[in-house]
Structures are given as structure tokens and as C-alpha cells.
């Protein structure tokens, strides 16, 4: 998990996936390098969630490849993808409601050796101090913001190479959302992980991203650095309907 390598860590090539009846994403390619934040934005129904699910194994792609470095993850079940070092935070049902906060974290650390767990829990509560004050509370009793912190803390336990975050700020108040993005999400990348984040709040997530994909109608409409996207009129257009498809370039570190 080196912070300075420009080798792409997680690569998805030409993914087609759906939930049975038909494909929702039709040939999407994204990649995210360690130490960077790549975001996926786009109007609703564009397939952003489906893309993440295809990457972490919850949905099996009908075609395309997913690899982490040299390792081929295509078609692996979620537990094997997790074991390969990919952490996934779903948008809903993101915690074990009947378990306590501590037990949720312990489940996050399921793959750790027993003696390491306590230390990791301390590290995670260092990142999310609020969690440290409510270790014995049942997760179902937490507020929205606290649940999201727990959901991210759960994934943090394994310190995975890749974080897949599905709209972590959904249902959060704007300032809490802002803190989550600028504080915690950015921090994950600073620590060396590759972070792929799907978001509805395009402006806010562009502000913390190194590279952004715009998804529409199940395809990548645009892909570029936030700076260039913000300056481009096609960017706002793409939120209002199908726009021109731009070939992707690999992420560049500035």
C-alpha cells in the first residue's frame, strides 16, 4: 500500500452488470490508485451503486474484469473480495443493528488475529472519538451520523488497500456531510488507501477528489480532474441528460 506509486491499484474494465432483468451499467471502466480519492457522480439511476456492488462482489458482472494490482477479483464472492483487501460501505443496511458498537467493530476485524483486535479498535476510536464513548450501545440506536461513522469504522478495522464508499453522506445534514468528506474520507487517502467514492453531492465530493467519473445512463460520460470538470460546460450538461462520451485517461497525480 505505497503512497507514491502511480500504479493503478483497483482497476475495473468494461463492466456490465445488473440485477437479472437487464444490465444497468453497460461497459464502465474506472480505476483508482493508492493514496488518491476517485469519485463517481451522476444523476440518479445512472448505475453508481451497481458499479460499486459489482466491484465488491455483491453483484456478479455479466462481463468485464475487476483486478486489484495483479490479482483478478472478477466474479469472486464478497467475502473473498474483502479478504483480498477491498472494504465496502453500503449505502443502507450498513451496520449490524442488534450488535453493539464494539461488536460491530469486532466483526469488521473478523479477519484479524485475536490479539490484534483490541489495538485496532483503539485506533479506530482514535479516528472516530465519538464511537469510543458509545462502545456498548446497540448500533440500531445510533443517530444517522453516528451510524455512518460506525460503518466506516467497521471497514477501517482491516485497514484495507481499497475503500468503496456508496453515498456515505446520504441522509446526513450538510455540515456533517462536509466534515465526513473533508475530514475522514480525505484522511483515508492521505493514509495511503485507494478510495473510490460514489456521491450525490457532486460539488462537495469534487472538492476532495483527485479524479472524477461522471456516470449517466449506465455509461461513463466524462472523466477528468475536478478542476477541469468544474470549468467545463459539458459537466453541468451531463447532469441534465445524455452528453458526449469522453475517453478516459489514467489518473494523474498533481
Amino acid at each position: 500500500m505505497s503512497g507514491d506509486s502511480s500504479e493503478p491499484t483497483l482497476v475495473a474494465e468494461d463492466i456490465r452488470a445488473g440485477y437479472g432483468a437487464g444490465d444497468i451499467i453497460h461497459g464502465v471502466s474506472v480505476q483508482v490508485a493508492p493514496g488518491t480519492v476517485a469519485s463517481v457522480v451522476g444523476p440518479n439511476g445512472s448505475g453508481k451503486s451497481t458499479l460499486l456492488k459489482a466491484l465488491c462482489g455483491v453483484v456478479t458482472p455479466s462481463s468485464g474484469r475487476v483486478r486489484l494490482g495483479e490479482r483478478d477479483l472478477t466474479g469472486l464472492p464478497p467475502e473473498e473480495v474483502a479478504r483480498a483487501g477491498v472494504g465496502y460501505v453500503p449505502q443502507v443496511d450498513d451496520v449490524f443493528a442488534p450488535l453493539t458498537v464494539r461488536e460491530n467493530l469486532e466483526m469488521g476485524g473478523y479477519l484479524l488475529a485475536g490479539r490484534e483486535v483490541a489495538g485496532r479498535v483503539e485506533r479506530v476510536t482514535g479516528v472516530f472519538p465519538r464511537l469510543g464513548t458509545m462502545l456498548t450501545r446497540r448500533a440500531g440506536r445510533l443517530s444517522g451520523g453516528e451510524r455512518k461513522m460506525l460503518a466506516m469504522g467497521r471497514v477501517l478495522m482491516l485497514e484495507p488497500a481499497v475503500f468503496l464508499l456508496d453515498e456515505p453522506t446520504a441522509n446526513l445534514a450538510p455540515q456533517v456531510a462536509g466534515e465526513l468528506l473533508t475530514g475522514h474520507v480525505r484522511a483515508l487517502a492521505e493514509a495511503g488507501a485507494a478510495v473510490l467514492i460514489v456521491e450525490q453531492r457532486a460539488r462537495a465530493v469534487l472538492a476532495i477528489s483527485d479524479y472524477t467519473y461522471v456516470l449517466g445512463g449506465g455509461q461513463v460520460l466524462m472523466a477528468d480532474t475536478p478542476g477541469r470538470l468544474n470549468a467545463s460546460p459539458e459537466f453541468t450538461e451531463s447532469f441534465f441528460g445524455v452528453g458526449p462520451k469522453v475517453p478516459q485517461t489514467p489518473p494523474e497525480r498533481s
Binding site: 440518479n44 450525490q200 457532486a202 460539488r203 453541468t236 447532469f239
Partner: protein, 614 residues
């Protein structure tokens, strides 16, 4: 044929009659309506006990060795009629178990427990029905005038049993091949959607329990009057499993399947084992028989869950009517000989719906939201929205995710109660009214998720949406086709016109479950139009639809508006909004941000920004 063989054959025929009637009752509940009544045996037992105590003399007779209630020595056929009535009435207390709140498998377990409980109560409370010993010396019908052991009597008994079985078949066919039967099947396929179409689930399930219960009671009466004894041992839950096995193997949902199952399982199977030479210790062959029934149930549910004679597709066709055993996939509902281009079908140029007749032409505003607010645990999903929808417009409702569009739509439709504010439809405040009441006033919504009935054809899906069909109740169905034919034919004509308008005439007889995504959307819209609404609330009708089909749908919607319909449509496909919708209302964070054409909205920086802020 020797006398012994003759008696044996008659014996078989009588059991066949009894089991056919019982299986038909169960098929009506389980196969047609989807009510898994594991307590079915109680109804048969209730009928048997009723017939027994009505026909027995007072319990001091015969030396007083039995103790039971009743004992009025009533003549045939009163005990049998009483049995059917009691079998039906016993169903009423079960209403609480079949309401909507309980999962299907939980309710089934509850019914099973009830069966066991009643068996225990009857076994232990001797004064009621003579406890575990049961009732015996039950008089055979007319045993004063005829000799029950005589061949003539046995023939007559078998004939009566079979005639009643045929009558039961006729009855359940009549009930199932009616609008009421269609509603039962819709409820079986998707009870939540059936509920939203205004079907009263509790009433439907209760009525089916009553009908099946009455049939079960009658079967009990025929049985007890023949074997002249009845005890709790005869009705454990093992007996219910045999009947379920019969219906599953024969074919659930198809009454012919139930008849076949009755002949194969309780009769055929149990009789076949008679011919296997007894081997092994006593009871061994009986045990193997039970094992075989268990195996058959599991095997059939795995390999052929629809049974040997599965439910047939109902094709609303143009051949001769009603009770004749169909030899093809054609069962008629539309009545006698008519070509599909019926005289009543409107000319293609005329509109299929007549919304103008329902409209209050004085007021150009059809729907008004006044300061609507909806809270979810402290979060304002909708924070004070006031909009007006004018007649004849295709109004769009857009906004980023979480803006509150679906919540607003749900409050307008009545599927979600408001926290505060008013919904005014055609001048009437409808704020407190549930969705199906608003639907009757002409304000109808569609749903985002797949909501077609999978095992009903497209035509049946459309017909199921009509609220005021006279045949849509048990009483109406019992009165027969003549009673509801006119309503049904009017609905069929309307459905055909809609199918033609939307280009799906060729799919009228396709099962809802076999449609493509776009076809499902169209069916959803057509179904909403069946009620002849004045205003439609569409929830993402183009979601997942191919762009070309989406444009066709859009064009159809515009045509409807040109004919006087008013439509409010939530949609994410902004290209559609561009082409078809005027005005477009844009929401963000629970309030209305702007209203205008898409071009107007695109030009506004705050609208664009709202989408990007998310």
C-alpha cells in the same frame, strides 16, 4: 362382479366424492387465493361433528354412553346443510390470522396450532363432543326408511356423493372464473399491489376461508354419515398434510388439478397400498405410505411445483360460454360468440378514456398542494410545498435524489399521510382520504417498482384494476356470469381499446411475469387508465426503459393530455422532460426551487447548482 367387490367399488366412489369436495375447498383457499390454511382439517371436522350431533338422538339414547351437545335427531338433509353452514361460520374467527400484518408462513403456523389446539380441546372436554372416544352410532340418512346395508342404498349414497362433488366443482369454477376469482389470484400474486388497487385483503381471505370451510364441512358430513363414527383421531394434522399433498400434486390453482389430486392421493394412493401384500411388522406398510407421501410432496415441490394439471391461462376469447370442460387453453369470460373487434370497441380515433366527463370544467386547477409538510423522525423530507397542477398539462416533477419528489407524490396520491398541509383535488379537500378512495374520485397513481401480477395475463392485469365490477365479491360471483357480464364486457372493451392504443394488443394474453421492462411500464400505465381517471400521478414511468420506447410513452401521455387528462410525472430522464413536459416543477431539499420549462430551468444557476450540490 361379486357383492364384495361391488361394495368395495361403491366405498371408493364415496370416499372419492368426499375427498374431491374437500380438495376443491382447499384448492380454492391455497391454490387460487394463496391462503395456506394448515388448519383446514378443523373445518371438515366441524362439519362432521355438526352433521353427527344434528342427526343423533339426545345423548341419553343408546344407554347414554356418549355425552355430547345437540342431539336433535333431525332428518336428512338438514344435518348436511347444517354441516356446511357451520364449516363456513367457523372461518370467521380466523380473520385476525389472515390480515395483512402477519407473514404468510407465520399465519400458516398459527392455523396449524389452532388445529392442534381444537383437537386437544375436543379430546379433553368430554361433555362437548364425547372427548377422545368420539361419536358413534351416527344415524345414516333415511335409515328409518331404507336399509343402509343394502346395495341400492349404497348405490344411491355413492351417486349423491358424486353429484355433490360435481356440484362443488361447478360452484368453485363459477366462483374462480369471475372477477372475484381474478381478485383472489391477484392477491395471491402480489397482495400489496392488490391492496393498493382497493382490494380488501381481509375480506377476500375471510370469504375464501368461509367458502372452503363450507365445502370442507359438507365433505365431513358426507363422510360421517357413511362411516357413522367420528373421533379426534380422524383429524390430526397428518390428515391436513394428505389433502395438501393432493392439491400440490394434482395442481394448485386449478380445480381440475384438485380433482385429480383427490383421486390420486387420498383415494388412489391409500387404496393402492391395500394391494401390496402386508409384509414386515404390523403398521409397516402404513408407515411407508406416509413416508411416500412426504417424499411425493418434496419431490413435486422441487420438480413440478405447479402440479400435474397446472393452472390454465385465461384467454378472454370469443367462443361459447361457461361450464364445459375446456379442451384447449381457452376459458371464456366475455360471453357468447363475438369477434374480438366487438361492436362496443370504440373507433381507434376516439379516446379510450373519457376524463373530461369527470372534470370540473370550471376550475383550471385540478390538483392543489397547500403547504405540504412531511417529517420522518425530525428530518423534513418535504418542508412546506405548495403547487398547482392545471388541467390538460403534462407537468414534470424533477430534482436531485432526496429532494422529496417521491414523498410529495405519495402524499398527493394518499399512499403516505401528511404531517401538515392540505391536498385539494378538483376543489375537494382529500387530505385525510386513503389512496383507493382518491382513486375512485379519479386521482390515480402508478408505482416505481414492478407491480404487475405475474400469473395473470396482461388483459387480466388490466381488468383487475376496475373498481366497480359487480362480480368482484363472493356474493356477486355466486350469482353467476349473467349478473356481472355487463360490467365485465364494458371493462374488456375498455381494456382492448387501451391495448390497441398502446400497441400491446398482441400481448393481451401474455402473463405479466413474461413481459419486458418497458412492456411492464406500459401495463402499469394502462392499468391506471382503466379506472378512467381524471388525473394521473406517475412515479418514474420511464425508469429502465429504452430511450426510443420512452419517447413513445411520452407521446402517448401527451395525447392523453390533449384529450383532457392531467398528468403529474416524477422522472429522472431529463431529456424526456425537455421534449414533453410543460411546466416542470423542480424540487430541492424538500421545497420547490423553480417552475418553468426545462429550458428556463437549465438557464437558472440555482437549479443547476442544486443538482450539483446533491
Amino acid at each position: 362382479m361379486t357383492t364384495a367387490q361391488l361394495y368395495y367399488l361403491l366405498n371408493l366412489l364415496i370416499y372419492a366424492g368426499v375427498d374431491i369436495i374437500a380438495c376443491l375447498g382447499l384448492s380454492q383457499q391455497f391454490g387460487v387465493a394463496g391462503v395456506t390454511n394448515f388448519g383446514f382439517i378443523i373445518f371438515q371436522a366441524a362439519g362432521a361433528y355438526t352433521a353427527a350431533i344434528l342427526s343423533l338422538p339426545g345423548d341419553s339414547a343408546n344407554g347414554g354412553f356418549q355425552s355430547y351437545i345437540g342431539g336433535w335427531n333431525l332428518p336428512f338433509p338438514v344435518p348436511w346443510i347444517g354441516a356446511a353452514i357451520v364449516g363456513g361460520l367457523i372461518a370467521l374467527p380466523f380473520t385476525f390470522l389472515v390480515g395483512r400484518r402477519l407473514r404468510g408462513d407465520f399465519a400458516a403456523v398459527g392455523l396449524l396450532v389452532t388445529a392442534v389446539m381444537f383437537n386437544l380441546l375436543v379430546t379433553n372436554y368430554r361433555p362437548f363432543l364425547n372427548g377422545s372416544a368420539g361419536l358413534s352410532l351416527v344415524p345414516a340418512p333415511l335409515q328409518g326408511e331404507y336399509d343402509p346395508q343394502g346395495a341400492g342404498y349404497q348405490w344411491a349414497y355413492a351417486a349423491i356423493a358424486l353429484v355433490l362433488a360435481a356440484g362443488a366443482f361447478w360452484l368453485v369454477q363459477r366462483v374462480t372464473e369471475s372477477p372475484y376469482g381474478r381478485s383472489l389470484r391477484a392477491m395471491r400474486d402480489n397482495d400489496i399491489v392488490a391492496d393498493s388497487l382497493g382490494k380488501n385483503l381481509v375480506a377476500l381471505r375471510t370469504s375464501v376461508l368461509v367458502l372452503g370451510g363450507a365445502l370442507a364441512g359438507l365433505s365431513g358430513a358426507i363422510l360421517v354419515s357413511y362411516i357413522t363414527t367420528w373421533s379426534p383421531g380422524a383429524w390430526g394434522y397428518a390428515e391436513t398434510i394428505v389433502l395438501f399433498a393432493a392439491v400440490i400434486i394434482g395442481g394448485g390453482g386449478s380445480h381440475r388439478g384438485a380433482v385429480l389430486g383427490a383421486i390420486l392421493v387420498p383415494v388412489g394412493f391409500e387404496e393402492a397400498t391395500r394391494y401390496i401384500p402386508t409384509f414386515g411388522p404390523p403398521g409397516f406398510v402404513d408407515d411407508l405410505q406416509w413416508v411416500a407421501i412426504g417424499l411425493l410432496v418434496v419431490i413435486f415441490l422441487w420438480f413440478r411445483p405447479q402440479g400435474i394439471l397446472p393452472e390454465r391461462r385465461r384467454i378472454i376469447g370469443a367462443t361459447a360460454p361457461s361450464f364445459k370442460i375446456p379442451n384447449e387453453d381457452v376459458v371464456t369470460l366475455a360471453g357468447p360468440v363475438r369477434a374480438p373487434r366487438a361492436a362496443e370497441a370504440p373507433n381507434p380515433g376516439r379516446p379510450a378514456t373519457a376524463p373530461a366527463s369527470r372534470a370540473n370544467t370550471a376550475d383550471p386547477v385540478v390538483l392543489r398542494a397547500v403547504d405540504l409538510v412531511r417529517d420522518f423522525g425530525g428530518v423534513h423530507a418535504v418542508a412546506g410545498v405548495s403547487i398547482e397542477v392545471r388541467r390538460g398539462t403534462l407537468t414534470g416533477l424533477i430534482g436531485p435524489n432526496g429532494a422529496g419528489k417521491s414523498t410529495l407524490l405519495a402524499m398527493l396520491a394518499g399512499t403516505l399521510p401528511v404531517t401538515s398541509g392540505h391536498v385539494v383535488y378538483q376543489g375537494t379537500d382529500v387530505t385525510g382520504r386513503p389512496a383507493y378512495r382518491r382513486a375512485r374520485l379519479g386521482l390515480v397513481r402508478t408505482f416505481q417498482l414492478a407491480s404487475e401480477f405475474k400469473r395473470l395475463t396482461v388483459m387480466e392485469n388490466l381488468l383487475s384494476a376496475v373498481p366497480d365490477n359487480r362480480g368482484d365479491s363472493l356474493a356477486g360471483a355466486l350469482r353467476g356470469r349473467r349478473y356481472w357480464r355487463r360490467d365485465e364486457e364494458a371493462a374488456i372493451a375498455r381494456a382492448r381499446a387501451l391495448l390497441e392504443r398502446f400497441g400491446l394488443s398482441g400481448y393481451a394474453d401474455t402473463y405479466g411475469g413474461d413481459l419486458s421492462g418497458g412492456q411492464r411500464r406500459l401495463t402499469e400505465i394502462m392499468r391506471a387508465l382503466m379506472t378512467e381517471p381524471a388525473m394521473l400521478l406517475l412515479d418514474e414511468p420511464m425508469a429502465g426503459v429504452h430511450p426510443r420506447l420512452a419517447r413513445q410513452i411520452g407521446a402517448q401521455l401527451l395525447d392523453l393530455c390533449a384529450e383532457g387528462m392531467t398528468i403529474l410525472m416524477v422522472e429522472h430522464e431529463l431529456a424526456i422532460m425537455d421534449e414533453f413536459c410543460d411546466p416542470v416543477i423542480m424540487m430541492a431539499e424538500g421545497t420547490v426551487l423553480a417552475t418553468g420549462t426545462m429550458t428556463d430551468l437549465r438557464a437558472r444557476a440555482d437549479v443547476v447548482e442544486a443538482y450539483l450540490v446533491g
